[in-house]
Every structure is written in structure tokens, then in C-alpha cells.
Symmetry: C2
Subunit: 332 residues, 2 copies
């Protein structure tokens, strides 16, 4: 398998799950003190992960929670963000300009409480925020652990302990198994689509953010391939009209509450398109994970599959995913 170190993957995910006591220690304090609402602040990939956290919470929570784009905060502000707001962010580099600037502004002018997940220590962001948890990768898992604890404390997730018992025991090895099972499929998809002039990605629910991010942060930014993401619910209100026999379309069909929206696209597409790919999490076994929790795990299943596709696209195109044409190379 190209670009795949099983033990490293297992360690990475299991290590992330072990952050839970650190997360809970902080969240429990904040919850006891009280907060008015929860804001997930990001830009680019972290904006996308934030969208997923919000949809994840909406499934069962009455807590006011929303996404705030960091750059937009700098110019428009957001009066719902007050000193009583809990803000959650994640950053790989800890130096993304819009994040640094917006958090400084929030800290100085508003005084909200900020929890930051940072991939590395000693970055500019670390000095601004209230609480830092340093651990690489696994952004979505970190966000979901925060969301789940908040909902547990609000009596909206009574079986929280059962769920995390299953996660701690079975999550990492299941996701690794998905990657292995999807490897050949990933290679086939890559061979068929690595040279697409345009590729449409359709997703819904807790996979929408990842769909947006896969099109923009992976295919556009890392592969320099043109792509567009569309919410499954919105697909029928415009985009469907430009889909024809040869249009490349991938549909992510997950198992959260919005599954019917993606299923609707997946069922319709074969009538008008001969170049589609359906990725359905139901095709992947997750032993030890109860049926009712599979929806929570769907984004991680998709991630493992997408990573397989990307590894082969990278090789076929002889285009290292780490290089950028313009990003952080030109001034803007």
C-alpha cells in the first residue's frame, strides 16, 4: 500500500482518543462555569471541519452553536460572540494569519474563552488562547470529542460513555481496516479520474464539510485538479443541469441523519450520468461499533477511503501533494 504505515495510523488515532481526559477536564470546567454558545472558528480546512462539528451537534443538541470564518470575523465581526462564548479552533501550523488575527481581536476586544488544538507546540497561537492541547492530526476527532462532551454535560448524549468505550476499543483498528479494504478501489478511482478536467463531489450532513474540503483543500490545493463540491440537498437546485454522460461525479453516502439526501442523488445519477462513483460507508464493516453510532464514524470511514484515492492520484500525476503553486509563496 502506497503511503500507508499501519502502526503509525493506529498510534495516531489511539493517541488522539487518549486526549479525551484532557479535553473533558477543560470542557467540564467551562460547562460548570456556564457559557452562552459555542463557536467553531476556522478558515479553509479548519472552516470545513467546523462545519462538520456543527452538523454533528445539530443531530441532537439544542445548544446554540455556529461556524465563524476567521477572515470574515476580522471585517464583519459577530455580535453573538461575547465574553460568555466558548470558541474552539484547530491549527496545524499555529500561524495561519487570519486565525491569529481574529483570535487576538476576540481576546482583546471580547474576552471569550478559547480552546485551541495545535499540531505543534510553541506557535504564535499558543500565546493568545486560554487552553491548548498539542497533538498532531485527527482534527475531526478532536472536534467531535469536544462536541460530544458538551452534549453529554447538557444531558443530550446520555450514552456518551458507551459510545466512547466502543471508540476506544474499536475505532482505530476499524479505520485502518477500511483503508486496507479500500486500497484497490482507491487505485481504480485514481486511475480513472487522476486527469479529470472537472470533478464534482456531492456530500451531506457530517460529511459536507469534508466534501467541501476534499474538493478545495485536496483536489484543488494539493493535486491542482479542478473540482466542485455541492451539498446533496442543493444538487437538485442547479448543478444537476450541467451533469451529462461523461461528467465525473462522486457521491458520499454516509450513515448520519442526512443519508437520505445523498441517497437521493446516488439513485438519480445513473439516469443521466455514466461516470459516477458512489462511496457508501455501509459497504464497510465496523466490528464492535454499534449500528446507532455508525453515523458518527462515517466521516472517518470516508477520510480513510479518500486518503487511498489521493495517494494514487499523487503518484499517477507525479505531483507531490506538499507543493504549492501560490499559497504562502506570493504575497496577497
Amino acid at each position: 500500500m502506497r503511503k500507508f504505515d499501519e502502526q503509525k495510523e493506529l498510534n495516531s488515532m489511539n493517541g488522539a482518543l487518549k486526549l479525551r481526559p484532557l479535553i473533558n477536564n477543560f470542557i467540564d470546567q467551562i460547562s460548570e462555569r456556564g457559557y452562552s454558545n459555542v463557536c467553531w472558528l476556522g478558515i479553509g480546512g479548519t472552516y470545513a471541519s467546523s462545519m462538520q462539528a456543527v452538523v454533528h451537534m445539530k443531530e441532537k443538541s439544542a445548544i446554540e452553536t455556529f461556524v465563524q470564518n476567521a477572515a470574515e470575523y476580522l471585517v464583519t465581526g459577530n455580535k453573538r460572540i461575547t465574553k460568555d462564548t466558548l470558541i474552539i479552533i484547530s491549527s496545524v501550523t499555529g500561524s495561519t494569519q487570519e486565525l491569529v488575527d481574529s483570535l487576538k481581536k476576540i481576546k482583546n476586544e471580547v474576552g471569550a474563552t478559547i480552546l485551541a488544538f495545535l499540531d505543534i507546540a510553541n506557535t504564535p497561537l499558543e500565546e493568545i488562547v486560554d487552553h491548548v492541547i498539542v497533538y498532531p492530526m485527527n482534527e475531526q476527532l478532536k472536534f467531535f470529542m469536544v462536541a460530544d462532551r458538551l452534549m453529554y454535560l447538557a444531558n443530550e448524549f446520555p450514552d456518551y460513555d458507551d459510545f466512547y468505550k466502543e471508540m476506544d476499543q474499536h475505532f482505530a483498528k476499524n479505520i485502518v481496516a477500511v483503508a486496507k479494504k479500500a486500497d484497490q478501489f482507491g487505485q481504480e478511482v485514481a486511475e480513472k479520474h487522476h486527469n479529470d478536467a472537472m470533478h464534482y463531489f456531492v456530500g451531506a450532513g457530517n460529511q459536507w464539510g469534508a466534501t467541501y474540503s476534499h474538493a478545495m483543500c485536496y483536489w484543488e490545493e494539493q493535486h491542482w485538479l479542478r473540482s466542485k463540491s455541492i451539498e446533496a440537498a442543493e444538487f437538485f437546485h442547479g448543478t444537476l443541469e450541467v451533469i451529462d454522460r461523461d461528467t465525473a461525479v462522486t457521491v458520499y453516502v454516509g450513515e448520519d441523519t442526512q443519508r437520505p439526501l445523498s441517497e437521493r442523488v446516488a439513485k438519480f445519477l445513473p439516469q443521466i450520468c455514466g461516470n459516477y462513483t458512489i462511496i457508501d460507508t455501509k459497504d464497510y464493516e465496523l466490528p464492535g461499533i454499534s449500528e446507532k453510532y455508525r453515523g458518527n464514524v462515517s466521516p472517518f470511514v470516508f477520510r480513510a477511503i479518500n486518503n487511498r484515492i489521493d495517494a494514487y492520484v499523487e503518484h499517477l500525476n507525479r505531483h507531490p501533494m506538499t507543493i504549492r503553486r501560490y499559497y504562502r509563496r506570493l504575497d496577497y
Copy 2:
């Protein structure tokens, strides 16, 4: 001028502005009775207009307000929508399935208050909602009038009367003047881009929803032309990498608080792209509209310009904008 009836345009906009007493009569009652939050519910084009209403309010309001996609509500729900929520919707046909179904669900299961703008009378939606205002077109103006009244009543828009005095006197004729001034430009843009394999539209702030809608509901749905919309703030976090010399990109630079985000793209683009179009509302005079209100009017300026472009694209492509390939023609 193709597809342009000056008197009809003037009458349409001035008639919409005259809805204000009807809107205020209802909103004042709701405000006096009290409400917990404001939800703009839509799908496709009305989802886009809802995004604009939310950004418009965020400029100055602390009222909790959010967009809810109608189809997503049907499967995921939204616990922030309660009996104390004010819901605002708009519909041209009054029969869009996802809207009808979601509003029925809200009415029966939650009991929120629903204000509906409908283009025509006697449609299925009329029987579900609490209050109906029937008047064709001008969706964004209707939404902004609701938003502005809510903010006025919350003491967040003290110069509301000054603003609407200017709007009543000068808005319609200014927008018509913009259309006339932009006609030749519209024709030139259409001649250059009516056959684009792909066109990128970049927008921000209270123009973001319209940018999304212009790409999806106009270029994809009505012209069957491929296009993608990107938020200006997000442009630098992925999409920029697929822009090259010949990529067609349009940037909308408006005058609301998010102007700097679009300006940043407009300033950067010429370094890497030779096929861009910048549309800046500052190039259009709006006599009688104070400088401080021009940001509120920007989406309408863009709309008038886009309509000119679309009229010529339609003609050049000999593709009537009213026909649909699949929408409401196939089952899904």
C-alpha cells in the same frame, strides 16, 4: 437593451418597497410578543437569499439568526427552532416540495411563527404559514426589509427611517440607471464568456449568497454552463491553486464590511490570471443614497449588472433561460 423594460423594472421595485407597512405591521406584532431567534429557511435560490439576509444582519445585530436548508431540516431537524422562533421564507411557485414539507413539519411539530413571501396567491404554502405577503420578485429586498425592521425594533438600526426615506425616493431609479450603464459591459462580458468551459465566481459578505446563486441557479441551472462559486475569504485556501492564465474568474467587489476580502482577491488575481473580470459597485453612482448605505445596496447593483450579462449570454447561446433539462422533468 435586450430583455429590459424600464417602466416594468421601476414599478416592480417601487411596488416591493411599498410592502414595507405590511411587513412592519406583522414584524412589530411579533417583536412586541417576543421571539427567541430568527430563522431564514430555504433551498436553492431561497437558501442563497437567506445567506445574504443573515450576513446583512450580522453587520450590526446581536439577534440570534441563522439559515436553515429546508431539505436538511426534514432529516436532521434543528432544535434551535422552537415555538418562539420567527421563520421567514420566500417562494416563487409556492410549491417547492422541500419547503412545503419542512414548513408542515415545523407547523405541526414545533409551532414556530412563519412569515412567507409568495410570488403568487393560492399555492400550497399559503395554507401552512401564519402570515403571507403576495408580491412577485424582489426576494432580497423583501428579506432585507424584514431584517432591517427587526434590527430597528432591537435598537440596532436607529437611522432606519433615514435609510428607507432614501430607498423609497432613489433606489428603483438608481438600479435602473445601473442596468442601463452596465448594458454594454454586460454584452462584452457575455461575448467573452458565453462559451466558457468553466467560470469561477468570487464574492463576499452580503453578495456571497448571490454569488453562490449566480453560479448555481443562473449559470448551471439556466444557462447549462459550468461554474463554481467561492467565498473571497476561502479563495486563498485552495481554489487559487487551479487558477492560471486562461481561467475565467469574476470577482464581485461590493461596499459592505467584507469589501476588503473581495478586494484582496481582485488585487491578487492579475498576477496569476489573464482572464478575470472585476465588478466593483464603486464604479456606479447612486445619487441620493448616502455613502454609509451603499453597502446595503451593493447586492442590487450586482444583480442589475448580472442580469445584463445573462440577457446576452442567453441570446448568444440561443438557450432560453426558462428551459430545464432535468429539474421537475424527471423524478428524484
